[in-house]
């Protein structure tokens, strides 16, 4: 009873809280980092250096009036933000933050497949939001989101096949362990796959330069134009939770999860005093920072250009990568 119900539930409660709190602070991090990139200070008023801004923002959103536009599809309108947040949170159930069973909720043998399937549900939230709002800008955003989904999901999934080939397992824990056996992070074995997944991850999370579904300057906020209050906040949470998911997945697949740098070099064994989850979070933070950095730097692609990249560049490279990986695997 305790083993099967209480401990997992406790782990879930802790993890959910941790994620949601870190998401609110992600918004602060984003505002701060972008402000520094733009020679500004960012939020400075709430608390020292604005650190309490992350708490003030959710309070404001909760207290705001939640407007439902007239003649929208009420059920779908409410369902959409939930549908985009829940999958992002569910994915964390298979993310191993450390090697010990304490640090992951479960380790299923189709972990990676689970991640791929659940994250692709998230986009339904955006499409539904666009449809249910009964408004033209969100509708266009919904169309863009579906076009985007088709263009990048195939490429990312195919790329992950080459990682699966290398690791010989679909389990998230297993993939990290096989990196330990190989003594090498897969980022060095599969650099092409890493870049593809990173680009696909940017598109998956609707982050710049692929933030077409919410392109503020074109679609006045895109799919969440008609949303306000807490339902808008859910979309916001979903976006940041997705960023954390992608960073976590990239960390697990390519940068050795909880492993220390150069796991095969014995000279660095003294680094083992640092717990594994610290490495994990440090690596994840690098990618989160990278996402924000990219947003501050790059202009936005047009959605036909994204589709062109997806179909004409990413997918062919992904296929070639699978073939090369297969050949190398057989020959060696």
């Amino acid at each position: 009873m305790i083993e099967t119900v209480v401990i997992p539930l406790l782990k879930i409660a802790v993890l959910l809280n941790a994620i949601l709190v870190s998401v609110t602070f992600m918004t602060l991090l984003e505002r701060k980092v972008i402000a520094w990139a733009q020679s500004r200070l960012g939020p400075m008023r709430v608390g020292p250096y604005g650190v309490l801004q992350a708490i003030a923002d959710p309070i404001k959103l909760i207290l705001k009036e939640d407007i439902t536009p007239a003649r929208c599809d009420r059920m779908m309108f409410t369902l959409a933000p939930i549908l985009s947040l829940v999958p992002a949170l569910v994915v964390f159930s298979v993310v191993p933050f450390g090697g010990d069973a304490l640090f992951y909720i479960t380790d299923i043998n189709v972990g990676l497949l689970f991640v791929i399937s659940v994250t692709s549900i998230g986009v339904y939230g955006i499409i539904l939001a666009g449809w249910a709002s009964n408004s033209k800008y969100p509708l266009l955003a919904g169309l863009r989101a579906s076009a985007q989904l088709i263009s990048y999901e195939i490429a990312v999934t195919m790329t992950l096949v080459s990682v699966i080939l290398t690791a010989g397992t679909l389990s998230m824990v297993g993939i990290v362990e096989s990196q330990q056996e190989a003594g090498l992070w897969y980022g060095f074995v599969q650099p092409v796959a890493f870049v593809l997944v990173l680009i696909g991850g940017l598109a998956e999370t609707n982050r710049a330069p692929f933030d077409m579904p919410e392109a503020e300057q074109e679609l006045t906020g895109g799919f969440h134009t008609e949303y306000s209050g807490m339902r808008f906040a859910l979309f916001f949470l979903a976006e940041y939770a997705n960023m954390i998911v992608i960073s976590a997945v990239v960390t697990v697949l390519f940068w050795g999860g909880w492993l220390r740098p150069f796991p095969s070099v014995d000279a660095l064994v003294f680094l083992d005093f640092i717990p594994g989850w610290t490495w994990f979070f440090a690596k994840m933070f690098v990618f989160l920072y990278l996402f924000i950095w990219i947003r501050a730097t790059l202009p936005r692609y047009r959605y036909d250009q994204l589709m062109r990249i997806g179909w004409k560049v990413l997918i062919p490279i992904a296929i070639v990568n699978i073939v090369v990986t297969g050949i190398v695997k057989v020959v060696l």
Binding site: I34, A37, Q38, S39, R40, K136, Y137, L140, L143, R144, A208, P209, D211, M212, A215, E216, Q217, E218, L219, T220, A296, T297, L298, P299, R300, Y301, R302, Y303, D304, Q305
Partner: protein, 373 residues
């Protein structure tokens, strides 16, 4: 096939109302788009949301009061508006403007050009999604506003010129500050260029977008950077020099393809040329009075005149009729560059995607205050 099958899906065109409240229509421009998917089939540009009747109002104000009305037309380039109006009245009255005043007017106008282009660059880049450039460009614009504040106390609507010269001489040390600004600006331009000029996404978003041929550009009556972007040499500063432009050396950049990228490059080059002009003007700034011989009561003799200057947006012209009896113009008409360039929006956007529409509104650089007046 003998008969066409009934379409399974609804294939109606989508009518999308962009503006007047839209983050990228730069004020209150309204564009009604007819879309096929995201492709623009037709566009209808609706203006008039901030029409304040400045032209008619001017016919009931005395000649000096009109200067501050001109501030409110192109409110991001108030000094060039002042300059155009004052020179027109001076032409009508045949007033000689002292050389020092003409030099200072040139400096102010070129500073204003940089400020206006900063605003254009920032918003244009922001429309395409590069938001950092926006804040960088506004950072430098702030320095220019500081210079104007030192000069005349105001930061946006300057009312900085008078018929016959200038109301004030520059304060002590102002020329050193202006020179320091030129040095700063020169470095910052390359900062903008680093972020955009060779950026793949920027190139893909601006090259071959909104191409307009030289013949079409002339036919539409475009002026300023959109006209020069198509390779047509027309710059009032060179063709019909005013203020002190005939005494300075500067180049007029021309485009070749007439696309959004060319217009971007031209405006960036205009930054550099403006700095060049300001430096020359500061070096050769003559001593002397700043106000010409103007009667206390301004009352031009009966007649009419048209005078144009090169505002940051293009050719800004004033047509003024005086009846010689009253202390206000009989007829006052402005040829606003933004209004004329806005003519080009419809042919530019047709066939492009919604995402390009905002880029194209940005590339023609309109200020709605000037379009509507």
């Amino acid at each position: 096939m003998a008969s066409e099958a009934a379409p399974i899906f609804d294939t109606d065109e989508l009518v999308l109302n962009m503006g007047p409240q839209h983050p990228s229509t730069h004020g209150v421009l309204r564009v009604v788009l007819r879309l096929d998917g995201e492709r623009v089939v037709d566009a209808d540009v609706v203006i008039g949301y901030i029409h304040r009747g400045i032209e008619k109002l001017s016919e009931n104000r005395d000649w000096t009061q009109i200067i501050l009305l001109t501030d409110r037309m192109d409110y991001v380039a108030a000094a060039t508006n002042n300059l155009g109006y004052c020179e027109t009245v001076e032409k009508l009255m045949e007033v000689e403007v002292p050389r020092r005043a003409r030099y200072l007017r040139t400096i102010l106008a070129e500073l204003q050009r940089i400020a206006s282009h900063c605003l254009w660059l920032g918003t244009h880049a922001m429309d395409i999604g590069a938001m950092t450039v926006f804040l960088y460009a506004f950072r430098e614009r702030e320095l220019i506003l500081d210079l104007f504040e030192d000069y005349c106390g105001a930061r946006l609507t300057y009312n900085s010129m008078r018929i016959g010269g200038l109301p004030l001489d520059i304060p002590a040390g102002w020329d050193t500050k202006a020179r320091a600004f030129c040095d700063v600006m020169e470095v910052k331009i390359s900062e903008y260029e680093e972020l955009l000029t060779n950026n793949r996404i920027w190139l893909q978003r601006t090259r071959e977008i909104g191409v307009i041929s030289a013949a079409d550009a002339i036919g539409l009556g475009l002026c300023g950077p959109p006209l020069r972007g198509s390779g047509v040499f027309r710059d009032v500063r060179k063709d019909e020099p005013y203020a002190a432009y005939d005494e300075f050396e500067f180049d007029v950049p021309l485009g070749t393809k007439g696309d959004t990228y060319d217009r971007y490059l031209i405006r960036l080059e205009e930054f550099r040329q403006s700095i060049r002009i300001i430096r020359q003007a500061l070096d050769g700034l003559p001593e002397g009075p700043i106000m010409g011989k103007v009667p206390r009561l301004i009352k031009p003799k009966a007649g009419e005149t048209y005078h144009a200057i090169e505002s940051p947006k293009g050719e800004l012209g004033y047509f003024i009729v005086s009846d010689g009896r009253s202390t206000n113009p009989y007829r006052f008409r402005v040829r606003p560059p933004s209004f004329c360039n806005l003519q080009g929006l419809r042919p530019l956007v047709i066939g492009h995607l919604v995402a390009d529409v905002v880029a194209l509104i940005g590339t023609i650089d309109v200020v709605i205050g000037e379009v509507d007046r």
